[in-house]
Amino acid sequence: MTDDEIIALLKKALAEVAPGRTADFDKITLEATIDDLDLDSISTMEMVGYLEEQVDALFPDEELAKVKKLADLAALMRGSRVNVA
C-alpha cells in the first residue's frame, strides 16, 4: 500500500468514528500522532477495528500499544494481509 492509499483509508476510518470532523482530518499526514487526532479511547479502538476490517487483518494488542504516530499504524497495515478493493 502506498502512503496515499493508507491516508485515504485512514480518512475513511476517521469519517466512520468521528463523523462531522472531516475538515479536521483533511490535511492529515502519517507524521501525525494518535494524540493529534483528539479521539477518545473507544473511538480510537473503533478506528483500529475499521482498519482491520479493511485490510482483512487482526493487529496484536501489544503492537497497537506501541503505536504513537499514524506511520506506526501504517506499518501494521503494511505488515498485514492486504485485501483492499
Binding site: I42, M45, E46, G49, E52, L58, L64
Partner: protein, 283 residues
Amino acid sequence: MGSTQEEVEVSYDVSNEFFRLWLDERMNYTCGIFDGTDNLEEAQVKKLEWISNAAKVTPEKRVLDIGCGWGANIEYMVTTRGVKDATGITLSRAQAEEIGARKLPGVEAHVISYADFQPEQKFDAVTSICMMEHISTPEQARKGEHISLYRDYFKKVWEWTNPGAHFGLQTILRNRVPRNRTDLRDIGWVTYKIFPGGLSLRLEDVIMAVNPHWEVMEIRTRREDYGKTTGEWLRRLRLNEAAIREKWGDEVFTDYERYLDTCVRGFDKHYQSLAQYSLRRID
C-alpha cells in the same frame, strides 16, 4: 495493593442466597470443564478434579486454597480426595461464613489478604482458582507494576510451601481488546462495576511472573468452557428473574444480566479466555 476488602465484597457479598440461585449446587463461581457433559454441576466437579490433579493433592498433604470462595474446592478436596488438613483464605466475610456453615472436618477458613497471610506451618499442595485477578488493579497494570505484583505473589506461595509442592492454578485471561463501542463499554463496565479493583491476566504475565519460583508443567486453555459456564449462569439467572427482582431489586438483576451477557460475548469473541496450570515448586 490489588483489590481492597471493600472491592472484593462488592463482587462477592451481594448475598450468598443470591449466588446460590444461579451457580451450581456447590457454588463454584469459576469456569467448569464441559468435557463429555452439558451439565454445569458435573462440569464443576471436573474442574475441581483437574485442579486437584494439577496440585497433586493426596489425603496426607496439607493443602492451601487461596481465594477459596464459598468453599467448593475445599469441600471437594476434603470429601472426595480425602484431605484431612485444608486451609482457605478469602477477603470476603460472606464467603468465609458459608465455609464455616459447611462444617468440614480439618478445614480452617481465614478472612485475610494473601499479602498479609503468614502461616505457622508450611503446605504441601496449593490451589488457587481465579483469585489472581484481584492482585493488580487496572491502574497498577497501566503503570507497569503488575508483573512485579504477580511475581511477589508467586514468591509468597513458594515461601509458604515445602519442597516438592505443586500448585494447581486457574486464571481468567484477557486476550484481545474489543474493537467496537458496545463491547468496549460493556467490558469496561464489568471491570469497574462488578469487579472493581480486578483485572484479568495475560497469559504471558503468568509465564513471566512464575520465574524463578515455579516451573510450568502444564497449561490448558478453556475459552469455550467458560463461555458455556457463563451461558448457563445467565440462563439460571433469568429463570430466577422474578425472585431476584423482588428480593434484591431491579438493579441487581439488570446489572448481573448485563455482566453475564458481556461474559458470554467476551469468550465467544476471544476477548477473554481461561487457563489452568500445573506448577511445580523450584526447590
